[in-house]
């Protein structure tokens, strides 16, 4: 199932080679569109040539349709796709600054690269400028670092904001893009220097444009109708990837490993207790939260768990394995990293510490301190928790 992590599969150098190949595809498509030519890019802002808008939005909707179609059909796990983190206001301010740089210099960073690669001197100067600008930013950042780190959300989609499904949002975006293309054609017709500008190398009839639009619309509608897989369907698609971990009991941790993790300051531990409310009220581990099995199908509940920092660990507690395993499956397929199950729940919890004392005092079993670990032999359990620090956000911009 996609996405593949090429660096994990092919090793560092094989992976880097794939990045070079993807880059070549990127560079070729930018050059073919004419993005190595500053006049063409700048003309976007004088309404004479809307190539920037047309190419960019075509790229966006084609990629979006492919991504969400693959996800709807079960070929791609969208929870593993890196979505750039949102820093809303710094993003908007940075965008405004970039708009100014765009019209003054005639390029953006990616296009100046392609321009310089095709020996355009102005592209090269712009590229040198971006290197210097990146440095200047680092030097000046201390003056406004708080603002730069403000209004942060890890993974926030347009669909979350609208409260729509991904399919409906995608369809709306495609409709909007097609309307913008129509507007762009009309605008160009109106503002173009008649007779002077070169025609496209492809003269396409109106009918072909209509056919292309229909393909996009119908595919987007299909994505909407099929829908993105819910956790139940996702598990049936992804069982092969995770079932082995369950069978080998790699995700069941010993109570003492829980105590160790609980006392580790560097780990952000979330403990979810799936027992009944009554049992929870009678006794629960300090810091744990009571959760119901159906919570694990609720995106509002799971969302924050999938956005824990890389040192985040989720531990599930239940009276029987089938309940905790079910919850574990749902969390895994929704992209939550580092999920573990407390072996046997709390059934043997209290008896484990029975009769043990630390400097004469009995142990608070709801919140056992790390000293407890010294009362047991070192090999009392085999540690299972491996913090996977796979970075799924940030992407290539950072």
């Amino acid at each position: 199932m996609l996405p593949i992590d090429v660096i994990a599969v092919l090793g560092k150098f094989g992976g880097y080679a794939v990045f070079v190949l993807i880059g070549i595809g990127f560079g070729v498509s930018l050059e073919l569109a004419g993005f190595g030519d500053s006049r063409r890019l700048a003309a976007q802002f004088y309404l004479k040539d809307m190539t920037v808008l047309k190419t960019m939005f075509t790229g966006i909707i084609v990629a979006a349709i492919l991504i969400f179609l693959a996800s709807a059909l079960g070929y791609l796990d969208f929870s593993q796709i890196s979505v750039t983190q949102t820093f809303l206001w710094p993003g908007i301010v940075g965008g405004l600054i970039m708009g100014v740089g765009f019209i003054v210099g005639g390029y953006c960073p990616g296009t100046s690269l392609v321009s310089a690669a095709s020996f355009k001197i102005d592209g090269l100067f712009f590229l040198i400028g971006t290197v210097l600008g990146a440095g200047l930013f680092g030097e000046s950042l201390p003056a406004f670092e708080d603002f730069w780190n403000s209004s942060f959300t890890e993974r926030y989609l347009v669909s979350d904001w609208l409260g729509w499904s991904i399919g409906a949002t995608l369809f709306a975006v495609v409709v909007m893009a097609l309307a913008m293309f129509y507007g762009a054609e009309k605008t160009e017709e109106f503002f173009r220097n008649k007779g002077k500008d070169k025609p496209w190398s492809w003269k396409i009839s109106k009918r072909s444009y209509l056919a292309g639009s229909m393909v996009l619309l119908v595919t987007a509608a299909m994505v909407w109708i099929i829908g993105q897989p819910d956790p139940v369907r996702k598990w049936s698609l992804m069982e092969g990837k995770y079932a082995g971990q369950l069978a080998a009991r790699d995700v069941f941790i010993h109570p003492l490993e829980y105590v160790k993790t609980y006392n580790e300051a560097s780990i952000k531990l979330v403990t979810l207790d799936l027992r009944s409310e009554n049992e929870f009220r009678t006794f629960h581990l300090s810091g744990s939260e009571n959760a119901k099995p159906e919570d694990f199908l609720n995106p509002g509940f799971v969302g924050p768990l999938s956005q824990l920092p890389s040192q985040g660990v989720v531990v599930l507690i239940a009276d029987n394995d089938s309940v905790s395993v079910q919850a574990w499956k749902y969390l895994k397929v929704q992209g939550v990293n580092n999920v573990y199950i407390l072996e046997n729940g709390l059934k043997n919890w209290n008896s484990l510490f029975e009769g043990k004392t630390i400097s004469g005092k009995t142990i608070n079993t709801a919140s056992p301190p790390s000293e407890v670990l010294q009362l047991f032999p070192k090999d009392a359990y085999s540690p299972k928790i491996k913090i996977s620090t796979k970075k799924r956000s940030g992407g290539l911009c950072s």
């Binding site: 996405p3 660096i7 880097y16 794939v18 993807i22 880059g23 070549i24 560079g27 070729v28 930018l30 050059e31 073919l32 569109a33 030519d37 500053s38 006049r39 802002f45 075509t58 909707i61 084609v62 979006a64 492919l66 796709i81 979505v83 750039t84 820093f87 710094p90 993003g91 908007i92 940075g94 965008g95 600054i97 970039m98 708009g99 100014v100 765009f102 019209i103 390029y107 953006c108 990616g110 392609v114 310089a116 095709s118 001197i121 100067f125 712009f126 400028g129 210097l132 990146a134 440095g135 950042l141 670092e145 730069w148 347009v158 070169k198 496209w200 190398s201 492809w202 290539l396 911009c397």
Partner: protein, 175 residues
């Protein structure tokens, strides 16, 4: 080898290739396309060459190249190398690989180069501010429907249109 300069491709055709490449990037690497991160890494590498201790002091530089960490040892740098190579290959095959300066009709070559440098400086600064450039934030984030990326994208256009009138001498013909 002399190749006749061919016109650019239909923007929707080029955009479709771009979209397929972007999907490929997501499918093979988890993340989309980008350029500004690698540009920043080149800056850090250059700074490190000239003034190594300075890299450890500035927080954003240190993240990329503090201590004996090589700032260029990162996937984004290889994506950048590929983008450069791809641009060159396509320009070569289409007869566009030649030394020239693209500019509006009203300004001299030197004026154009100075404005390109200034524009690049502003762009490089803004791209770090927005944590990504047009390709990383707008294109890649837009395709996965990230709200911040859409807000960013529209603000780039707003910024450009707001200033376009005042710098029109750089690009348009005199009336």
């Amino acid at each position: 080898m002399k190749i006749k300069t061919k016109p650019y491709k239909n923007p929707y055709f080029a955009g479709t290739i771009l979209g397929v490449v972007l999907f490929g990037a997501y499918a093979l690497t988890h993340s989309g396309l980008g350029a500004s991160g690698a540009i920043s890494r080149i800056h850090v590498a250059l700074t490190k060459l000239l003034w190594p201790s300075h890299v450890d002091i500035i927080s954003t530089f240190a993240l990329m190249g503090a201590g004996d960490h090589n700032p260029l040892d990162h996937a984004s740098v290889f994506l950048l190398i590929g983008t450069f190579a791809g641009g060159m290959i396509s320009a070569l095959l289409n007869g566009r690989l030649k030394f020239e300066i693209f500019k509006g009709p009203q300004i001299s070559n030197w004026q154009r180069l100075i404005f390109a440098l200034i524009g690049g400086l502003i762009m490089g600064y803004g791209a770090r501010f927005a944590r990504g450039c047009t390709s990383g934030q707008a294109l890649s984030g837009g395709a996965v429907l990230s709200l911040g990326s859409w807000a960013f994208m529209f603000s780039v256009f707003i910024g450009g249109y707001a200033v376009a009138y005042f710098v029109r001498r750089l690009w348009v013909e005199s009336n």
